[in-house]
Amino acid sequence: MKWINKLGEQADLYRMGAATFTAITLVILFMLTQPIDLRSHNVLLSYFSQLQRDEARLGETVMELNFSLSNNYDKVNSIISNMREVVGELREGHAASSLNKDTEFQQKLHLLEQRLSVQGDVLEQFKSSNAVLKNSLIYLPNARDDLARELPPGSVTREHLNDLVEQILLIRTRGGLVEHGDFNTMMSSVQKEASHLPDRLRQKLDYLLLHIRHIEQIEQEIPGLVQQLTINPEISDVILTCAVEFPILAARP
């Protein structure tokens, strides 16, 4: 009967072997039956996610600069530079090597590069204008006070000047000049009155009016630039389309 018992023990071993084999097979089958190459998918997705994050951070940083919460352009330069690097990496690096010959992908990258280039130009305009604006905004209140001290109390020039400075400093909170015509009339009348002032005061007033003109001009262009840098569907749409379409395409076996 020994041989029967031995056979029984071997049968147990066979059963165990079969169960293990089945479990391993199931695991291997699970891996093989994955519909996409998760690795390629994740790599590409991470690049587009990075672009989306950078785009959002660009907008956030521009807002900080616009509202004087920051006065350092290194961060914004770094963000746009990162975005260019990511697109460059997608074009030339290994991340999207499986899509090198995909015409649609290459076209989308080209489009993205073009739009980033335009975005870069807009950013440069914003930085230059913002710096000039900030300079004038720093200057104006003190210059007004300084001049007002020297103008006779109750003089028409002093009153007009106060109104003018008040108007220009409130542009942003009011969302633009309420009456553009009024502003020009006020500027003209102050300039006329300036001709009666002594040379030294007139020179001070000329500088002040120059700054007011600059603020007025720049305040007209800044909102458009900020909008383009913070809400730019031309860029976000391309990134989103790429993020939806191409990681799956790259991951196909």
């Binding site: 695991v27 699970f30 991470s46 990075q50 350092n72 770094s78 930085k127 230059s128 500088y207 120059l210």
Partner: protein, 350 residues
């Protein structure tokens, strides 16, 4: 036939099922590891590490050190000082960017091969790695791209890449060093890489102002601190900010008053960024220069028209800021600017 008792059969079955489940569990853990490993490797592209975590102060101090490939830095230094890169073998990069004189030649316009005069003031090579673009008109995006300019400019080094590579290839020392660092040996892109890496190493940290920013309030005397306050109050800081105190934006020269009409004799170099973009709005726009080590790099402005630091401050106040500044204010600002001189290789620049 072997017929086990019910009890032992049930125990055996449990054991078999447990083994199978354990194996499946191990497989699952393996799979999980593989996917996690892959995704952690690539969740953030290597090129897009966050380089923007610096606090948003208007000016930030320079780092005290950098991590660069020391072999490339050493090779780049040799190349930077090698006149064989020029067409007639007479001048090197260091000819116009002399490290002993603040990284410039202190001439109004630099002189290239055969004594030919250039059309613009040479900017300093110190801290140039922190500039967002290179050249006054920002036509080169990187230090590597920038090297093409002077090397091939007929009034600067007057060379060509084939000529320069041929000259360097005759030198056994270079052949051996390039082969050690670069798989493809002496090639234009490797020469650029080595020189640019050396240039990135040319940082001048630990200026008195940087020490002040790091909390040493005794690093600046009262006059210098007053100068810094004026620098901020007058609006200089609107453009001269960031780690390089400039070098991170373009600005028009003559915002408040026409600088070029006042100076006269318009040159090609005066066009500024317009010569790169051909956009009318870019006329007379220049990269805002870094103010680091500014006391060592006269004359000032792209045309070298301001001979002294005080002259440059007056020009900036009038044409850029639209302010009238008195002699005392100019003197204080200049005193502050002199605190921006940093150290190179542990010694304060002179």
């Amino acid at each position: 036939m072997y017929l086990p008792k019910n009890k032992s059969m049930s125990a055996r079955n449990i054991w078999i099922v447990a083994t199978a489940l354990f194996t499946a569990f191990l497989g699952g853990v393996g799979l999980f590891y593989i996917y996690e490993h892959n995704s952690s490797d690539f969740s953030t592209p290597t090129t897009v590490q966050d380089k923007t975590s610096a606090a948003p102060n208007p000016i930030t101090p320079l780092p005290l050190s950098q991590s660069l490939d020391t072999r490339k830095v050493a090779l780049g230094e040799e190349l930077f000082n090698d006149p064989r890169l020029s067409g007639d073998g007479s001048i090197s990069c260091a000819h116009c960017h002399n490290l002993a004189t603040g990284g410039v030649d202190r001439l109004t316009y630099s002189r290239g091969i055969g004594g030919k005069e250039g059309g613009i003031n040479a900017p300093t090579v110190f801290n140039s790695g922190f500039n967002f673009r290179q050249f006054w008109n920002g036509r080169a995006e990187t230090l590597e791209d920038q090297i093409d300019g002077p090397l091939q400019n007929p009034v600067e080094m007057g060379s060509t890449w084939p000529g320069a590579i041929a000259a360097l290839s005759e030198d056994q020392n270079y052949r051996s060093k390039f082969k050690t660092i670069y798989d493809d040996g002496i090639q234009p892109h490797n020469v650029k890489d080595a020189i640019a890496t050396f240039e990135r190493s040319l940082i001048t940290p630990n200026s008195r102002f940087d020490r002040f920013l790091r909390g040493d309030k005794t690093a600046l005397n009262n006059e210098e601190q007053a100068g810094y306050r004026l620098f901020k109050q007058l609006g200089c800081i609107s453009c001269h900010q960031g780690i390089n105190i400039g070098g991170n934006m373009y600005q028009k020269l003559g915002i408040m008053e026409d600088y070029f009409a006042a100076r006269g004799h318009l040159t090609d170099a005066d066009q500024g960024r317009f010569s790169v973009t051909n956009q009318a709005r870019d006329r007379h726009f220049f990269k805002v220069p870094s103010l680091r080590n500014i006391a060592l790099t006269p004359p000032y402005l792209h045309d070298g028209s301001a001979k002294e630091l005080e002259d440059a401050v007056k020009v900036m106040a009038r044409y850029q800021l639209g302010r009238k500044v008195d002699a005392d204010e100019v003197s204080k600002i200049a005193a502050f600017l002199r605190t921006l001189t940093g150290e190179y290789k542990g010694k304060t620049l002179e």
